[in-house]
């Protein structure tokens, strides 16, 4: 059982602040590090993995700082996002090489068990250069698991995987978490994270925006006011009806640069608004041309979380 301790950590590159005063403790089980691209997830994972010194603050595993201490790797497995992996070797050779680099007494046995765990036995003897992205990802997992580490760090492990491969990897990570390992993986996709992560740490623009289990994160995301763009045959009449109906905090009529106009609605309750709008339109003889959520991108959701 190992705890990852990130204490008041910042990391900057020149004038760019990649990680800004982040403090978090990550215990056994699966934790998802969620955030849009460029949020500082990889930088944080690199610091946890001992490949980058924090500019300020400390990153430690059970109190032991990770930077410049190669002995931490006895208990840490890393699955990098990058693909570089000695392509002339076969999958089995790479995993065996990793077992030997760890100085394991039964390197062959450990390599075989790790390959079995990621279900790559059938293709293990093929050269890595012939592997699909998902197969490479699984062999990377096997190299990280070969020494039975207490901590597993994975950078965007689901990138480029097809749904079946994704399911397999999710099952494997869940099992590893249930075994009491501390599994930390980064992702920019909420659905990936909430399926397997018992706990979620949200990062946005280098800052630690939120943390908790997926229900808390979901609640934070769904409770926020939703913006809709509505185009209709009579925006003015519809605006009055929506406000009178009470399902929106505010409406705004904006002219379109392309000509025409649109109604921007700040809905109080998504479910109520989406039921009320067609009814109100019908009652007032207004035809709806378009109803679209304005800010459903992940970035805007994260941005909302940070502003809180």
């Amino acid at each position: 059982m190992t705890t990852i301790e990130v204490e008041a950590v910042s990391r900057w590159f020149g004038n760019v602040v990649a990680v800004n005063d982040v403090t978090m403790r990550i215990g056994p089980g699966v934790t998802g590090l969620l955030g849009p691209n460029g949020a500082g997830k990889s930088t944080l994972l690199n610091m946890v993995g001992g490949f980058l010194p924090p500019s300020t603050g400390t990153v430690a595993l059970d109190g032991r700082p990770t930077w410049r201490d190669e002995q931490i790797y006895r208990g840490v497995g890393l699955v990098p996002e990058r693909e570089g992996m000695y392509e002339a070797l076969s999958g089995a050779e790479l995993v065996l090489a990793n077992a030997r680099l760890h100085g394991l007494p039964d390197a062959r046995g450990a390599a075989r068990r790790a390959i079995d765990a990621v279900e790559m036995s059938a293709a293990a003897d093929r050269p890595l250069s012939t592997y699909s992205k998902g197969m490479k990802q699984r062999i990377k997992m096997a190299t990280a698991l070969v020494h039975d580490p207490a901590v597993l760090l994975l950078d965007e492990p689901f990138n480029g995987m097809d749904p079946r491969q994704r399911m397999q990897l999710m099952d494997l990570l869940s099992q590893l978490g249930e075994q009491g390992r501390t599994v930390l993986f980064s992702s920019h996709i909420l659905e990936e994270v909430e399926q397997i992560a018992g706990s979620i740490q949200v990062m946005v623009a280098g800052r630690h925006a939120a943390s908790g289990d997926f229900r808390e994160i979901r609640r934070l995301m769904t409770e926020r006011p939703h913006q809709y763009v509505v185009r209709s045959s009579d925006d003015r009449a519809l605006a009055a009806a929506v406000i009178a109906g009470g399902s929106a905090f505010g409406v705004e009529l904006r002219a379109d640069p392309a000509g025409g106009g649109a109604l921007h609605v700040q809905a109080a309750d998504v479910g109520r608004f989406s039921h009320a709008l067609p009814v109100l339109a019908a009652q007032h003889g207004v035809r709806l041309f378009e109803v679209a959520p304005e800010d459903e991108s992940l970035e805007s959701v994260f941005a909302y979380l940070v502003e809180r």
């Binding site: 590159f13 500082g40 990889s42 610091m47 490949f51 980058l52 190669e70 570089g84 000695y86 030997r100």
Partner: protein, 244 residues
Amino acid sequence: MGPGAVIARLTVSGLLGRRRAAVLVVLPLVLLVLAGVFRAVGGQDLRTAVLLLSTLGLGTVVPLLCVVVGTGVVGPEIEDGSILYLLSKPLRRSLIVLSKLAVAVATSWALLVPSVLVAGVLLVGTAQRLAVAYALAAAVAAVAYCALFLLLAVLTRNAVVIGLLYALIWETTIAGVVPGARVLSVRQWAYAVAEAVAGDEAVRQGVDSDVGLTTSIVLLALVTGLASTYAVRRLRALRLGGQE
């Protein structure tokens, strides 16, 4: 198989892949072909042999081949990120650097020593000790060059370009012409070894170093030791994570 041997094996698999292997074979071949041509045209001539082995052999083929090998044992792994499989292990960084240096030195010896030896024999036959002298000089120069270029690859992503510029501008040109610069040239230190082995006749024909043998050996050892030590230090603090 111990960790050192595994590192060496992974290094070899990266080094001998693709275009690099072709470049490695071409350089010694150029030396051999030219030696063959000179032999066919001019017969065995000591002065020609010294000129060819000094300028083309020690002055050009040795540093260029060592640029390719020395940077090739670590540069591509840093470039594609696969070095992470070595760095994420509880291994002393000195073991990683020394294993890679051993591969670089063994590879450059395997390619340089026989080709310089054969070129020397083609040019002057076996009566003179010239072939052995230059082969030995190439061997000691290769150790220092490999250590220097390995360090360069740990320090910068542009190691090959900088290494080539260093080899061509400093070792081949400036250190061959400017007297003061010769003292700080791996090529001159290697000459001192060749000079000591070659015998009086070869020395009269121009196998002549500006630096004494003892000084040269000390400097070669010092450069190799310092470059390797610094490479270990830098590898310990190698930052894989850049900006996102």
